[in-house]
Amino acid sequence: MIAFLLQPIFIFLMAILQITFVEFFSVGPLSIDLAFVFVIYAGLSFNAMRGVLLSFLLGFFLDCTVSPIWGLHMFLYVLFFYISMIAGTKIDRKNNLPAAVFTGICLLFQGALKILFYWLILDVDILYTVPKMFIPQAIATGILSPFLYSIFNHFEDFFNAEVRQPARRL
């Protein structure tokens, strides 16, 4: 019960960390999307209800603090949680290479969706950021994702995640 109550706080702190982490530890265009890696991790590890709630909440906190489009992160994080959850039947997160490649590709797709939403809602073209930001970020985050997954594994009990066999997920 206590863990259940603490989980939103943990997610809130992760959002704070994402806001500050990206700023301080980004080297040029190479920044890490820690929150997004957590969403992918949740998709590969957590059950649907818990995972979708935490992803939604993480997106909510980021939307509140940094997003110019209200609801964008909520939508993207739930979407990619869902995609990860489905892909989890094929990908074992403990296998580093597929997990890293999957994370990188998801991040690229997230970038593409952000470009689309910025264009649709704000009428702003941020296509130029693809080579400058999204591709380097996808590569850097993909490479570091196995390491980040191993850190999230330490909190597995806290999240009470069910580590399921891919075949039994759905």
């Binding site: 704070i16 806001i19 059950n47 209800m49 509140c64 489009i69 609801g71 869902y82 759905l170």
Partner: protein, 275 residues
């Protein structure tokens, strides 16, 4: 439950996705004003962000200042070279500034004299014990000749001993063989000022009855015809009556600092500017 367990995750995700899209749609219609919920989260998040930012900043500063010192030595060396170059540049500017001030003073003197003048730079100021002379960078090519009076911004300096085409040697007023007709400004008492070879002059041929006091200003009298009348020569520092002599012994401090001469003005007699 009505929904089969198999489809439950998809339904949950779909519900949240639709909710998110609805929120995006709602947010797009009110882009300018954040709602109460959003404001509350921002208010709560700000102190946390500050704390984390400060921690990362401290960590970053520690890393940059104490650990990540690659290139620091090169930077240090480069900055030292730059500092030296800038100091040199600053010194040049400062020199130019002071030279400008000195030349302005010379110009003021020049404007007040009814003579044609030639400004010259002192190129050698080694005053050995035998002769007190300086070398200037103007000579006969500039119209200078032996015997011409030389002034500086502070007053009478000397006269030209010899000239070549592009340089001249100036016998300073403090040399033993220098003499100039002088007048005490206050009492108009006249005498002959002679160099002593040291940093002072002697005012000679002043009778005991003459009114001379320490502090009196001494000017050129213009009697010998070499120096124009009224140029500052120095200040009386000591007046000593000598019982068995006809004249007083009077010491005079030069108005010119001969050790620091850098620019002088040579007067060309007989070539009045008509002022």
């Amino acid at each position: 439950m009505l929904i089969p367990k198999k489809y439950r995750p998809h339904i949950i995700a779909a519900v949240f996705l639709i909710t998110s899209l609805a929120l995006i749609s709602y947010g797009a219609s009110s882009l300018t004003e954040p709602g109460f919920l959003r404001k509350t989260v921002i208010e709560i998040a700000t102190p946390f962000t500050d704390v984390v930012n400060l921690s990362f900043k401290g960590l970053g500063d520690f890393w940059r200042r104490y650990l990540f010192l690659v290139g620091l030595e090169d930077d240090n060396r480069r900055l030292r070279v730059e500092k030296t170059a800038l100091a040199e540049q600053l010194n040049n500017y400062r020199e130019g500034y002071y030279e400008g001030i000195r030349l302005r003073k010379l110009l003021d003197i020049r404007n007040g004299l009814p003579y044609r003048t030639v400004a010259a730079r002192v190129v050698d100021n080694k005053q050995d014990s035998l002769f007190k002379t300086i070398l200037i960078d103007k000579g006969t090519a500039d119209g200078l000749s032996a015997g011409y009076p030389v002034l500086s911004a502070q007053g009478v300096t000397g006269r030209i001993m010899e000239s070549s085409w592009h340089s001249s040697r100036v016998l300073l007023m403090i040399d033993r063989i220098s003499n100039i007709a002088a007048v005490i400004q206050r009492s108009r008492t006249q005498g002959i000022l002679q160099g002593t070879g040291t940093s002072q002059y002697n005012l000679k041929y002043i009778p005991h009855t003459a009114d001379v006091l320490p502090g009196d200003l001494l000017l050129s009298s213009g009697m010998a015809g070499v120096f124009p009348k009224g140029l500052i020569i120095g200040t009386v520092t000591r007046v000593e009556p000598q019982k068995h002599e006809l004249f007083k012994k009077i010491d005079v401090a030069p108005s010119v600092d001969f050790e620091r001469l850098e620019e002088v003005l040579v007067l060309i007699p007989g070539k009045e500017t008509g002022q």
